[in-house]
């Protein structure tokens, strides 16, 4: 699949927000890895600031935003593979928008 064309045109601005706890950090690392594997060139941002999350109107952490839009909240009890799949889907959806 060729995502690199779209990549150059669009700016995804993938951000992981949380309270700075180990769970959020883990999600951030996973998202960075998935994004890199998919050929996304920009760095994934990490914002360990719980006030920002609250101001987004979300009451669960961690949160993933793409282009400023909340796309995932909370850390579900699922295997790493399942998590990777859902992150991949989020990025693909954003790329096709």
């Amino acid at each position: 699949m060729n995502t690199s064309d779209k990549e150059t045109k669009t700016f995804l601005n993938i951000t992981v927000l949380g309270s700075g706890c180990p769970t959020c950090k883990k999600l951030f690392n996973l998202v960075s890895r998935v994004a890199k594997e998919m050929g996304v060139m920009e760095e994934v941002k990490y914002v360990p600031d719980i006030k920002k999350v609250m101001k987004l109107g979300v009451r669960q952490t961690p949160v993933i935003t793409i282009r400023g839009k909340v796309v995932m909240t909370g850390f579900k009890m699922e295997s790493e593979e399942e998590k990777k799949e859902s992150i991949k889907k989020l990025i693909l959806t954003a790329l096709s928008e």
Partner: protein, 320 residues
């Protein structure tokens, strides 16, 4: 505990297989270690599974609904009991706090939850049950719950809304999360995953703790403990509570050590106070709660909980 008789036999067999002769301090310490590691492992797996299964019926949305519009003290009691079965970590503290307040849960009731959730810790209950028996485990749970109710009621009466960070009241109300109600097999699957994750995380600490406990059991003389923190030292409870604060999240490793110390003459109230301080008072939690509580309220919250723990310790030293 006769329930664990097979485990005791298993420990005998394991040691026999490795050809350890069943005499002396070395054998006793080793037996102690194997027996406790297996027993605690089994208890962890079973009880965590049950607790997480119960918890699947208490998502945050439902808890909020349960806690709004209650008679004053009823709300505090409910919140304290729900706090027992729900996990608490520095990640979830702030969202929960704000979520409660904006759904109309009173501040005092919110505090009851905020005290009971970290104080009555499921891993601590399991270890107390396995190492001290039912009576001490129940004492731990009930004193934690009572403290949470009383402290919540007092804090509620003081009308401290002004000591909550201002932005909290200015936030736009979040839309309710969609709740998908899981079916039975999904609940089982989730509980299994949670159990697996938590046991893997906690068990290494248990092993280290049991190992140190086994060493104390075999080699540390009883007079040493009674001299330092025994019934004769009036400041013992206070001192152990202070030691407990930085040991947060290591309840799993701490309790096996404490058990051995109790065997060597550490009074049970002092031991309980220590364990409560390990689970309830933590620096990461304090830092994260500073996001929503002004310094005065934060200090008051920790002060009340700390004082409650110290009093509980002295009370049990007198009563037991």
């Amino acid at each position: 505990m006769s329930l664990f008789y097979p485990v005791e036999k298993l420990a005998d067999v394991i040691l026999a297989v490795f050809g350890v002769s069943p005499t002396g301090t070395w054998y006793e310490s080793l037996h102690f270690f194997i027996y406790d590691s297996i027993k605690i492992g089994l208890l962890l797996a079973v009880i965590i599974f049950i607790v997480s299964f119960i918890r699947s019926y208490l998502p945050p949305e439902k808890v909020k609904r349960l806690l709004t519009n209650r008679f004053p003290v009823v709300g505090n009691i409910l919140a304290s009991l729900i706090g027992v079965v729900t996990p608490f970590c520095s990640c979830s503290a702030v969202p929960l706090f704000i979520g409660f307040l904006e759904s109309g849960v009173p501040l005092g009731v919110t505090f009851s939850y905020l005290i009971s959730a970290p104080m009555v810790n499921e891993v601590a209950i399991i270890l107390l049950l396995g190492m001290f028996g039912l009576k001490v485990a129940l004492l731990y749970v009930s004193s934690g719950v009572i403290l949470a109710i009383v402290a919540g009621v007092i804090l509620g009466k003081m009308h401290l809304e002004k000591w909550v960070e201002d932005y909290v009241w200015e936030l736009e109300r979040a839309e309710g999360e969609e709740i998908q109600i899981p079916n039975f097999s999904e609940r089982m699957k989730e509980s299994y995953r949670y159990t697996k994750e938590l046991v893997i995380k906690v068990y290494p600490y248990v092993l280290v703790g049991v190992g140190l406990g086994a060493f104390i059991h075999g080699y540390v003389p009883a007079e040493l403990i009674s001299k330092i923190a025994g019934a004769g030292n009036p400041f013992a409870v206070l001192i152990v509570v202070l030691i407990g604060i930085p040991l947060y999240s290591n309840a799993a490793g701490t309790i096996p050590i404490v058990r051995s110390l109790v065997e060597k003459g550490l009074p049970i109230g002092t031991a309980l106070a220590f364990m409560m301080s390990v689970t309830a008072l933590s620096l990461p939690e304090m830092i994260i709660l500073r996001n929503v509580l002004k310094p005065k309220l934060l200090a008051l919250y920790f002060g009340i909980v700390g004082l409650g723990i110290v009093l509980t310790g002295y009370l049990f030293n007198i009563v037991l």
